[in-house]
Symmetry: C2
Subunit: 171 residues, 2 copies
């Protein structure tokens, strides 16, 4: 399936000069959404994965579906201030300033093999922080899975310690 | 399955006097997460549903899994400023001030039968605004589905125009 045909490209969002890859047109297409989840699920169904962690917010949509298909639990990695119980936190750099992701301290067991899911790999900052959260909790990153990889950005380099997979790539 | 045993209750979050029902402990439990998605999917698999819409953010986790299981597309209903293309918007009242939800104008076809999903029904303000978004786009609400209903709050009353279903209820 040609996923790129189902993805909409929007110039100058969220700011001038950015060509935004909008997956909502892919997700709302039943065949497209099913294909994405099937492809990612197949990749992991014979591998040792204990739990799937999705990154807020678009990573929740496909991460939840993949966790269900793999018959595993789902762990949300969230923006600051959203999680109600004791949590771990990792900061990362943005172009201007910093941001932070959080995960409940008891979200994964020590030694758990965690599949991380997000929709798009750009600079990789959020995913790297998510990997560090998993490691802080004593877990092991199986792979970082994405629908889209923006290959002109340094995300793969930033994540070089980890295994990275994406269904499609834009140069 | 006794879902309440898998849900954690946290006093005074996000503010004093609120007993927060934390579903992350349910979602991270493989059997619990599978059960929730299975129960909701079964309810809709023989009904005419064209698309599943989930409300940001926790509605994305179960909404995505349900859409996949039903072999339907998924539409995100998001907080303001997140969606990149032309969108519809509905405001609703909070205890102090107002908030807003948004959906892409082309997210659903006219006449589409839409299943709306969120994790928890409290005051119902967000879900009512989401129903109005669907209707603005020319769609029809099949049902509003939740894991949890907080029965001491007026959510069901606010949503009385719509069919509402939840897996469990707290008095």
């Amino acid at each position: 399936m040609d996923l790129k045909q189902k993805i909409r490209s929007i110039p100058d969002f969220p700011k001038a000069g950015i060509l935004f890859r909008d997956i909502t047109t892919l997700l709302s297409d039943a065949a497209g959404f099913t294909y994405v989840v099937d492809q990612l699920t197949r990749r992991y169904q014979d591998r040792a994965v204990d739990v799937v962690a999705g990154i807020e917010s678009r990573g929740f949509i496909i991460g939840g579906a993949i966790a269900y298909q793999l018959k595993k639990g789902f762990v949300p990695i969230r923006k600051p201030g959203k999680l109600p119980a004791e949590k771990l936190s990792v900061s990362y750099s943005l172009e201007y300033g910093t941001d932070r992701v959080e995960m409940h301290t008891d979200a994964i067991a020590r030694g758990a093999r965690v599949l991380l899911v997000d929709d798009l790999l750009a600079t990789g900052g959020t995913m790297k922080a998510a990997c560090e959260l998993v490691e802080k909790a004593g877990g092991e990153v199986v792979e970082c899975a994405f629908i889209i990889h923006l290959a002109d950005l340094p995300g793969e380099q930033l994540l070089k310690k980890y295994s990275v997979f994406s269904l499609i790539s834009y140069d």
